[in-house]
């Protein structure tokens, strides 16, 4: 999305995330302090009351995620933010929001894990947890900014997608992006469209809370207090919202949860390519690492090496098609990520053996440098 306002500011990634939430119309935040995400809460504790919203500091992360669900079914655009240990505690409630189709946004500013790990160290070790952290089959939308500007824009997008698809949406950035300060150009109100959940067009008598009414497969959502009485449960349910154990209904429910997102992949999946046309070596990196990778591409090109970069902006759903296409013409694929090998497995699946896949992997609390990536490029070429 292009943003052309003149409201330029120097901001931290966490602050841009908070401001993005305000721009998207967030009216509720529930959270619990945890480094390196705490600034999002601190800023929203001041900003939300100014715009008529509510900020609640909860007693832990389980409570924070549950409060977000409560607020969203009662009509608020709601979010929470956390980091590793808190993300783990939120998982059960996240699954609840998925099966009940409650729109909400969860920011995870990733630090080194597991457990307390490295609270102030950058990492990208939670990307598979975003995919499979809560139990059971479920689709996931996860956005991954690589700049402070994108922290703002992708937070707006996260709210928009949550409302559009009636689902929890993750925005995952690493500590570097969260704490880095950069120039941000803030859009005017209205410049980026703001999406709101679809409300029922039928009266309460004929409203079925989980019955899709069009090809989006997303059922219109009445808020508590709108005059519609309906059932919301974490049990597998049919279109009425009431629990069912009929195999065909259970299957249809889970299938629709997947289809409502997977049928619209072109609308959801987002990525950026750099010099990919003639690339013999295809890099794949996301978040702050993508900045190092981008630099490595420029340095490699300057040295006459045909290197390109794919940067997933949605980690989930993963832009596998783009990877597959690029790999078809490549001699090698290199994945750089701040973990011991997570997205690299997704890349291997997408590449389908068309080229060897190498990793520049690091989980020591240090960022990955362009030099390291360049060294790998030279090694594999």
């Amino acid at each position: 999305m292009s943003v052309t306002s003149l409201k330029a500011k120097l901001m931290q990634g966490n602050q841009a995330c908070a401001e993005g939430a305000i721009y998207a119309g967030a009216s509720f935040y529930a959270g619990y302090p945890i480094t390196p995400s705490t600034e999002i809460a601190e800023i929203l504790s001041e900003r939300l009351p100014q715009v008529g919203g509510r900020f609640i500091q909860m007693e832990d992360e389980i409570a924070s995620m549950a409060a977000v669900i409560g607020a969203s079914v009662t009509g608020a655009k709601a979010m929470t933010a956390t980091s590793g240990p808190g993300f783990s505690l939120k998982q059960e409630n996240i699954g609840h929001a998925m099966i009940t189709e409650v729109p909400c946004v969860i920011a995870n500013v990733m630090r080194l894990g597991p457990s307390t790990g490295g609270p102030t160290s950058p990492a990208q070790g939670d990307v598979m947890q975003a995919r499979w952290g809560t139990h059971g089959d479920h689709p996931v939308i996860t956005l991954c900014p690589n700049s402070v500007q994108e922290c703002f824009e992708l937070t707006v997008k996260a709210f928009n997608m949550a409302e559009r698809f009636r689902t929890p949406v993750f925005i995952m950035f690493d500590e570097i992006i969260g704490h880095m300060r950069e120039r941000v150009v803030l859009p005017e109100p209205g410049q980026i469209p703001v999406v709101n959940r679809k409300k029922p067009e039928v009266g309460p008598e004929s409203y079925k809370a989980y019955e899709p009414v069009d090809e989006t497969l997303v059922p219109p959502m009445a808020s508590f207090g709108d005059g519609y009485r309906y059932h919301v449960t974490g049990l597998t349910h049919d279109e009425t919202g009431f629990a069912t154990t009929k195999p065909e209904k259970m299957a249809a429910h889970l299938q629709r949860l997947h289809d409502k997102i997977n049928n619209f992949l072109p609308e959801v999946v987002d990525y950026e390519e750099q010099s990919i046309e003639d690339a013999e070596v295809v890099l794949l990196a996301y978040g702050s690492v993508a900045r190092a990778a981008s630099r490595a591409v420029k340095d490699a090109r300057a040295a006459g090496l045909k290197v390109g970069l794919i940067r997933p902006i949605t980690l989930w759903p993963f832009p596998g098609e783009a990877v597959k296409k690029a790999a078809a013409k490549a001699k090698a694929v290199i994945v750089a990520e701040m973990n011991l090998g997570q997205i690299i497995n997704e890349v291997r699946v997408a590449v389908e053996g068309q080229a060897p896949v190498y990793g520049v992997l690091r989980a020591d609390g240090e960022p990955i440098s362009p030099t390291e990536i360049l060294a790998k490029i030279k090694e594999v070429l």
């Binding site: 302090p33 480094t35 601190e42 009351p49 100014q50 240990p85 505690l89 457990s115």
Partner: protein, 300 residues
């Protein structure tokens, strides 16, 4: 050890918590250090995330002279329960199992585990060092932050001025479980505190001690005032020294007159923005609390 009374004269010279990286004047560090002087070297400790675990385990100075584990934030009392059961199963009768958790780690995320442990009558000592906010993450509000205090999530902003909630009453909450032994304390009255740790270690069941432990960094006070402000919190009546056991409450100190609440609050940066109304409210809350304690705790 029975009936022993700790005083500055007979206190051991031995140290079990030293070489840590707490800020100068840290009340929490003193609370841990003094408790371990009472409990001695046959003590196993668990500490959740918080300042004491952050400053206490820095290589190469393992600042604890005893076995200690950093627990998950929500899991302190449960890990203690496991330690106590395993010690018993192996016939280790001479050990103390102690937890040191902050106000956030106790009154918020850890309260479920604590409640369960008291309910089961675990043989553990749980010490909450109360600095009235989440200090380790940069002074956010906790359930034990007093009304009006400025924290980074209760800013003195244009819409609300400081914490909008009152301090949760943990002492009453644990007592309501029918716990074997509970006490409030202040590092300003350290002898009283140490003797309560001793009684906790002898109670034969679950013990809870809630010790006021000022944080110069988060409270906005000079480091050399931590002890005096801890004493003043009791002297002005906003905090109190009490015990509970066998269904009975006891007030250990009943000041004839309180020192001015305003003096106590005005010394601290976190209360700078308070108006005279806010201070009057604090005085009213104090008086209501004392009225309650003096009338409801018939045996006080």
């Amino acid at each position: 050890m029975n009936n022993a009374v700790f005083s500055s004269r007979n206190m051991t010279e031995q140290e079990f918590f030293f070489g840590h990286k707490a800020c100068a004047g840290c009340g929490g560090a003193l609370a841990v250090r003094l408790a371990l002087k009472v409990l001695g070297e046959r003590t196993f400790a668990a500490l959740p995330a918080g300042c004491m675990s952050a400053v206490g385990f820095i290589y190469p100075q393992m600042a604890f002279g005893i076995n200690a584990i950093i627990s998950t934030f929500a899991g302190t009392a449960s890990m203690l329960a496991g330690m106590a059961a395993a010690a018993r199963a192996q016939g280790l009768e001479d050990v103390h199992i102690v937890g040191f958790a902050g106000d956030g780690g106790t009154a918020d995320i850890g309260i479920q585990a604590l409640s369960g442990a008291i309910d089961r009558g675990e043989r553990i000592i749980y010490i909450c060092y109360d600095n009235e906010a989440y200090m380790n993450t940069g002074t956010q509000k906790s359930g034990l932050t007093p009304l009006g205090a400025r924290t980074t999530t209760t800013p003195d902003g244009s819409v609300v001025g400081g914490s909008t909630t009152k301090k949760k009453n943990m002492f009453d909450i644990v007592a309501a479980h029918g716990i074997d032994y509970a006490a409030t304390a202040s590092i300003g009255y350290y002898q009283d505190y140490m003797n309560k740790v001793l009684r906790a270690s002898q109670c034969g069941g679950t013990a809870y001690i809630h010790v006021m432990a000022p944080c110069p960094t988060g409270w906005g006070i000079p480091t050399e005032h931590a002890l005096t402000i801890a004493r003043e919190s009791v002297d002005c009546g906003l905090w109190y020294l009490a015990e509970y056991s066998q269904g009975k409450y006891r007030l250990n100190q009943r000041p004839e007159t309180f020192t001015p609440v305003e003096d106590y609050l005005r010394k601290q940066g976190r209360f700078k923005h308070l108006q005279s109304d806010d201070i009057a409210q604090a005085v009213r809350d104090r008086d209501a609390r004392w009225q309650y304690m003096l009338t409801q705790w018939s045996d006080a």
